[in-house]
Symmetry: C2
Subunit: 150 residues, 2 copies
DNA sequence: CTAGGATTTAGAGCGTGCTCGAAGTCAGGC
DNA sequence: GCCTGACTTCGAGCACGCTCTAAATCCTAG
């Protein structure tokens, strides 16, 4: 009946056995579905394997949630799963690859800036159309721009 | 051998028979593939049926190109094909539906603004990561943030 | 101990937006 | 008139990112 598992926290600090959140709670906190959480894991987006109970159920710690949040933010900026996986590999490989991580992020930043510019540019068309329609409605005028004038 | 068909323009003004550009030239000018041009037509995005030669080949006029450009700009802002089709239906229906067109565009504008805000917000994470990696590289320091610290 | 909701897996399914292919037709320079 | 490259239709294929399913297992309140 609607378990919440708000971190029993019986042991000392963390990395214990039964500590951590259920996948449902992790999904709630990260804003993605449990399906997506499992999919991300299968897709190789995780940096550190999520802990499991004795029986094999996932138990998420804060670090896991934080990383998933990073993933969702990267996804929200349009980074493909494949690239996030690459990034996750670099991160979990540890030090020594900062240059590649930097290159990856800089490339993605360029993509995002380009996307922003494109959105902003094309927003002008939308604004223009809105202006036109507002004007016509205000004037009670009828349309005759894109109608079959042929 | 690489026909260009730069508007023979034999008749008076337009809407003639053999006037208009081939699909290849239309694709070149609008920046989409011929496949996509045909797909858009099939998908019901056209406002006015593209003219055809006696033999059934498409001949695009400037109005067609302009409309396709509108479609690509709407696509570039993330408007789904289905919504563009609806918009095209409204436009080709002629006057009297400005209110609905306006509502459609205003809703889309809101979507675009939300997307812009989301991109900009998540860009901060990217910038932060870039800062971090640049700092580490500058300091010659090694990574220890997302490494398996467990 | 038990009941029953939550979780597990691997794989299939889906929605979107193209992109391609096959087999046949057309157009226009020679 | 003919040859060849461009064009036609329309259904299949594809890449992506989830989303769902089924059958089995787990976990915990009672």
């Amino acid at each position: 009946m609607l378990e919440v598992r708000p971190q029993p926290e019986s042991g000392p600090a963390r990395s214990n056995a039964q500590a951590g959140l259920s996948i449902a709670e992790a999904a709630r906190r990260t804003g993605v579905s449990v399906h997506t959480l499992r999919y991300y894991e299968r897709a190789g987006l995780v940096v550190t394997p999520v802990e499991r109970t004795h029986g094999g159920q996932r138990r998420y710690c804060q670090l896991d949630l934080d990383w998933i949040t990073v993933c969702t933010k990267l996804r929200a900026t349009g980074m493909p799963i494949r690239v996030i996986r690459r990034y996750a590999q670099l991160v979990s490989a540890g030090h020594g690859n900062e240059r590649e991580r930097l290159a990856l992020m800089e490339a993605h930043r360029a993509d995002v800036l380009a996307k922003l510019a494109e959105l902003q540019e094309n927003l002008e068309l939308i604004d223009h159309k809105i202006d036109v329609y507002r004007g016509r409605l205000a004037a009670g005028d009828a349309d005759r721009l894109w109608a079959p004038t042929r």
